[in-house]
Amino acid sequence: MRPWSLLLVVLVALPLVAGVATLPPHYAPDAPIHTHVGARYLERGVAETGMKNLVTAVLLNYRGFDTFIEVVVIFTALAAVLALPKGSAPMPKGSAPMPKGSAPMPKGSAPMPKGSAPMPKGSAPMPRGSGAIPKEAGAVRPREEEDPEVASDVPVSPVVRFVVRLLAPFMALFAVAMLFRGHITPGGGFQAAAVFAAVFIALGLVLGRARAARLVPVDWRPWLQGVAPLAFALIAWVGWRLTGSFLGYPIHDHTAQEAMTFVLEIGIALGGGVILARLFLEMEA
């Protein structure tokens, strides 16, 4: 077994090393990435797209289709995760399947009626958003650990809790800044989405899942999860109406173009962030 693995490693590594060895030196001005299509972006990007940040110009304009499909891929990944049957993985803490309404799979032996809300909401008749459940409310339900609103609180170090709570507003502010300044500085929708999700997950780990989950309104979640592809589709359609080409931008109408870019960035940030956060919630449940 071992000699064969070694042989395989060598066989894979040799072409890779040979390929890397033939790469042009770092920062070489005549490297293909600087002379081929990149040079055109740098020379004419601002004039052709009317965007101030060339990275944004490439992402949303030159490579708009790629970004569109990329957003769809992220959305599909979440859909695939949600479609996984619950309770098939080995679960140390109780093997009961969780009362999720969203997974389109036959539930194992969950005795609860499936709610129509596609959210981690149990079917227990409690007012929405009442995360602070009194203890005796749990007695009504058959198994308390099935209720996703009850936080599975792991003891968190006070230092960690303090630091996270201290930093969370600044992280959120940083994400907002990246979103709104993304057209002139590094950053943009995807980065803002990742930082938003990081804030959410950090808070979720420290404060408990239930309190973090309440940050995203339950009724809006299906729309928020799909808002990135939806925003792209909307902007693509608007561009089609305005310019005659799918995902086109009216480069002469500066206001319209900025508005379209803005909607796209907000859609990416919201949709991406909610998708990452939902992945976290889904795994924790």
Partner: protein, 81 residues
Amino acid sequence: MSDVFDIVMLTLLIATAVSVARARDLLAAVVIFSMYSLTMTLVWQHRGAPDVAMTEAAVGAGVTTVLFLITIARTTRREKP
């Protein structure tokens, strides 16, 4: 100076990558992998790609680490021999 930084960072990358592959303790592997992402962030920044560096820091070192940790918490910490 720039070459020294690159050499140190790339050596660290290889070292962390090999350690992740060799680690039997999956928790240690996740932590080292997070360090790999952080090193990669510095490399991206050094190569003049701040956008990618930000994404790597937030997704690579932040979110995926948490997801891996949750997975370990729900499965097992030791790799099967």
